[in-house]
C-alpha cells in the first residue's frame, strides 16, 4: 500500500507528525501542576509565546484556504490574509493589556470576575465551546483533504485513494492524545516549532518556483487584458528533470475560471456573487460588492480579537508589557507569512489552471500542496512534501489550541467552578485529560461531516460569530464602567445568535438542504447580510449592551472603580494583588 505513495511526500508528512508527538511527550514531563496545564505557568517568554500564538493561529484556512481562495476569486480574497493579520492590531490596541492585567485563566473567568456573576460564566462557556467547534471543523476538513492527497494513489478496501474520513480520524486522534498528555505547556513548544515549519514550508517552495517561472509581479502581469487570457507563459527550466529543460505553458483557462479582468479587479467573483445571482449588471453590482467587502472586513478584524483560543494565550505572558510585545511580534510573524499564500494562488492560476475544474478538496483548495509538482521529478516531490508537512503543522497546531481552550473551559469552568466547586487542582487536572478525549472525539466526528464545505468559508463564519459575541463583550467591558451583566449578556447572546442564525441559513441554502435560490435572487441585499452578518450584528450587540446597561445601571458592580483600576493601572502599582486579597476576604 505504501509503495503507491510518493516517498518524499510521505516522509515529510510522517516526520511532522512524529516530531509533534515526540515534543508533546517530552514537554509532558515538564507539565506537573494545574497551572502548567492551563496557562503554562505564566512563564512563557515573548519569543516562544509569539511563535506559539502564530503557530496556533495559522490554520488550515491560512495555509491552504487563502491560496485556494485567491486562485478562485482573485483580489477579493486578499482581504482574508490582510484582515487575519490586522485583527491583531485591534487586540493590541484595546484588549490585550487590560485582559492580562485582570488575570484569569479563561474568558469565562473574565466574564464572571468583571460582573461578579456565575451565571454569566456559564453563558460565556457556551460560546467558547460553540465558536471552538465551529473553528475545529475546517481544521478537520484540511486534515482529511491533505491525507487524501498524500495517499491519493493507494487502494483502500477496493476503492482508489484514502477516504476523507480516515484522515480526519487519524489526525484527530493524534492531537487529542497529545493535548491530553501535555496540556498547554506541551503544546506551547510544539506550536512554536510548527510556526517556523509552516513559515519554511510556505516560503521555500515559492522562492524555488519564482526562480524558475518568474516573480509575483510577472505572474500578476499576465492577467489584466483580454489578450493575456490566452497568452502562454514560456519559461525555460533547466537541469531539473530528465529532459534537461521544460517549457511551461498556460493552457487556456477552463470555462469555470473567472476571466482575467474579473479575477484581478476588486468587487469580483466573491463579493458580487449575490448581485450576479440576482442578474444585476456589473455596474449595479458594485454597491452590493462594496457592502460585502466592508462586512467581511468587520468580521475578520473584530473576529480575530474575539477568538477564545487566541485570547487565552495572553494569560501565558508574565505581565501586560510582555503581552503587548507578544502581540507586536505575532503581527510581524503572521504578516510575513501571509505575503506568501496569495503568491501560490497567483502562480497556480497561470501554471495549474486545471485545478479550477476540480470540486471541493480536489479543486483550488489544494493548490499549495499540488503546485510544486509543476517541477517534474524529485525536486517537485520534495517541495510538495514540504508543503504537505506545512499543511499538517497548520491543522494540527490550530486544532491543538482549540482543544486546549475548549477542554480548559470544560475542566476549569464547567467542572471546577460549576459542577464541583470544591475540587482540588489534581482532580481538575485529571478532568482536563478526560475532557480532552471527549472534546477531541466530538470534534473528530463533526469533522467527518464537513467534506463538502469550503475551509475558508467555515472559518469566516466562526470569525463572524466571534466578532458579534466576544469582541463587543471584551471591548465594552474593558472600556466602559457602566456595563452591567444583563447588558453584556443580552448584547453578546443576541449578536452571537443572530450571526449564527444568518450563517447557518446561508449554509443550509448552499448545501441545497433548503432551496432559497429564488428568494436570494430576488433579495441580493438580504443574501449579503446573511452571508456576511458582521456589519449589522456587531453594532446590534454593542447597541444592546449600551441600552440594556443604562436601563439596569443599578446593577453595576459595587467595586467597579477597583475593577477598572485593575484593568488599566500599571501592574507595578500592585492593585491586582490588593483586589484578590479583598475578594478573598469577602
Amino acid at each position: 500500500m505504501i509503495a503507491a505513495v510518493d516517498p518524499w511526500i510521505f516522509a515529510f508528512s510522517f516526520i511532522t507528525v512524529a516530531a509533534t508527538l515526540v515534543m508533546g511527550y517530552w514537554a509532558a514531563g515538564k507539565a506537573k501542576t494545574a497551572s502548567d496545564f492551563f496557562v503554562a505557568g505564566r512563564g512563557v517568554s515573548v519569543g516562544w509565546n509569539a511563535s506559539a500564538i502564530s503557530g496556533e493561529y495559522l490554520s488550515a484556512a491560512s495555509f491552504m484556504g487563502v491560496a485556494g481562495t485567491v486562485m478562485s476569486s482573485g483580489y477579493d480574497a486578499l482581504w482574508y490574509p490582510v484582515c487575519y493579520a490586522c485583527g491583531y492590531l485591534f487586540l493590541l490596541l484595546f484588549i490585550a493589556g487590560p485582559l492580562r492585567r485582570f488575570g484569569a485563566y479563561t474568558i469565562p473567568d473574565f466574564a464572571e470576575g468583571r460582573f461578579d456573576s456565575p451565571l454569566f460564566r456559564k453563558i460565556a462557556v457556551i460560546f467558547v465551546l460553540f465558536i471552538g467547534f465551529f473553528y475545529t471543523m475546517p481544521q478537520m476538513k484540511g486534515a482529511g483533504t491533505t491525507l487524501a492527497y498524500v495517499f491519493k494513489e493507494i487502494t483502500w478496501f477496493g476503492t482508489a485513494g484514502l477516504p476523507y474520513w480516515v484522515g480526519v480520524i487519524v489526525v484527530g486522534s493524534v492531537i487529542t492524545l497529545n493535548v491530553a498528555i501535555g496540556g498547554m505547556k506541551g503544546i506551547t513548544l510544539v506550536q512554536a516549532f510548527q510556526y517556523w515549519l509552516k513559515m519554511f514550508a510556505i516560503s521555500a517552495p515559492i522562492f524555488v518556483l519564482i526562480s524558475l517561472y518568474g516573480g509575483y509581479g510577472t505572474h500578476l502581469g499576465r492577467n489584466g487584458t483580454g489578450a493575456a487570457t490566452t497568452n502562454a507563459i514560456a519559461t525555460s527550466v533547466t537541469g531539473l528533470d530528465k529532459e534537461g529543460s521544460t517549457t511551461v505553458v498556460r493552457a487556456a483557462l477552463p470555462a469555470v475560471a473567472p476571466d482575467d479582468a474579473t479575477w484581478i479587479s476588486p468587487f469580483g467573483r466573491l463579493s458580487s456573487k449575490a448581485a450576479k445571482a440576482a442578474k444585476l449588471t456589473t455596474e449595479e453590482s458594485r454597491p452590493y460588492a462594496l457592502l460585502y467587502t466592508y462586512s467581511l472586513i468587520i468580521a475578520l478584524v473584530c473576529g480575530t480579537a474575539g477568538l477564545p483560543h487566541i485570547l487565552v494565550r495572553f494569560y501565558t505572558n508574565p505581565d501586560g508589557v510582555a503581552a503587548k510585545r507578544t502581540t507586536m511580534w505575532v503581527m510581524i510573524l503572521i504578516g510575513v507569512f501571509y505575503v506568501f499564500p496569495p503568491v501560490f494562488g497567483v502562480m497556480g492560476r497561470n501554471l495549474m489552471p486545471s485545478l479550477y475544474e476540480g470540486i471541493g478538496s480536489k479543486g483550488t483548495d489544494k493548490v499549495v500542496l499540488e503546485l510544486p509538482r509543476v517541477i517534474n521529478g524529485t525536486w517537485g516531490s520534495i517541495l510538495s512534501g514540504i508543503t504537505c508537512a506545512g499543511a499538517f503543522a497548520a491543522f494540527m497546531s490550530t486544532f491543538s489550541g482549540l482543544l486546549v481552550s475548549m477542554t480548559g473551559a470544560l475542566a476549569h469552568d464547567v467542572y471546577g467552578r460549576i459542577l464541583v466547586p470544591d475540587s482540588t487542582p489534581t482532580e481538575r487536572m485529571r478532568m482536563f485529560k478526560w475532557c480532552a478525549f471527549g472534546v477531541g472525539g466530538t470534534a473528530t466526528v463533526l469533522g467527518c461531516f464537513v467534506e463538502r464545505l469550503e475551509i475558508n468559508f467555515m472559518v469566516g463564519q466562526a470569525f463572524a460569530i466571534a466578532a458579534a459575541s466576544y469582541f463587543p463583550l471584551l471591548f465594552m467591558s474593558v472600556w466602559w464602567r457602566g456595563m452591567t451583566m444583563k447588558g453584556a449578556a443580552t448584547g453578546m447572546l443576541t449578536g452571537g445568535v443572530c450571526a449564527l442564525s444568518a450563517v447557518v441559513l446561508t449554509n443550509v441554502s448552499d448545501l441545497k438542504l433548503v432551496d432559497l435560490a429564488a428568494f436570494w435572487a430576488a433579495h441580493p441585499l438580504v443574501r449579503i447580510l446573511c452571508e456576511q452578518p458582521a456589519i449589522w450584528c456587531v453594532p446590534l450587540a454593542i447597541g444592546l449592551m449600551v441600552v440594556i446597561s443604562m436601563m439596569t445601571r443599578s446593577d453595576v458592580p459595587a467595586d467597579i472603580r477597583m475593577k477598572m483600576l485593575v484593568l488599566h493601572a500599571p501592574e507595578a502599582l500592585g492593585l491586582k494583588q490588593e483586589y484578590v486579597r479583598d475578594h478573598e476576604g469577602h
Binding site: 509575483y216 483600576l565 493601572a569
Partner: protein, 115 residues
C-alpha cells in the same frame, strides 16, 4: 470612553488615597483610550479607505506597478508594514505612558505619606 456615574452604586469607600481615586482612574482611562483611538483611527482610515478608493477611483487603483495592480500591491504587500509601524508606535508610547502613570501615582503616594 467617558463614563457616567449617576445612578450607580457608591464606590467602596475604604480606599481614599490618590491611587484609588476617581481622578486617577479617569485620567488613566482617558490617556490610554486616547492613544488607542489615535492608533486605531490611523489603521482604520487606511483599511476602510481602500474599498472606497477601489469603488470611486477604479482606474487609478488599477495602475500597474512592476506588474502589480496598485491596489493589489497596497493590500497584498504594503499593508503589513504599515500595521507594524502603527503597532510599534503604540507599544512604545503605551509603555512610556504606563511608566509615567506609575511614577505619578508613586509621587502622590509619597506626598500623602509626608502629610
Amino acid at each position: 470612553m467617558e463614563s457616567s456615574t449617576s445612578g450607580m452604586p457608591t464606590p467602596d469607600p475604604k480606599h481614599t488615597d490618590f491611587i484609588h481615586s476617581e481622578e486617577f482612574l479617569a485620567e488613566l482611562q482617558r490617556r490610554q483610550f486616547r492613544l488607542s483611538v489615535i492608533c486605531a483611527a490611523s489603521f482604520l482610515t487606511a483599511l476602510l479607505a481602500l474599498p472606497a478608493l477601489n469603488f470611486f477611483l477604479p482606474e487609478l487603483m488599477a495602475t500597474r506597478v512592476g506588474g502589480f495592480p496598485f491596489n493589489w500591491l497596497l493590500l497584498g504587500v504594503l499593508f503589513f508594514p504599515l500595521v507594524w509601524v502603527i503597532s510599534w508606535v503604540f507599544i512604545q508610547r503605551s509603555i512610556a505612558l504606563e511608566n509615567q502613570e506609575a511614577e505619578s501615582a508613586r509621587r502622590h503616594a509619597a506626598n500623602e505619606a509626608q502629610r
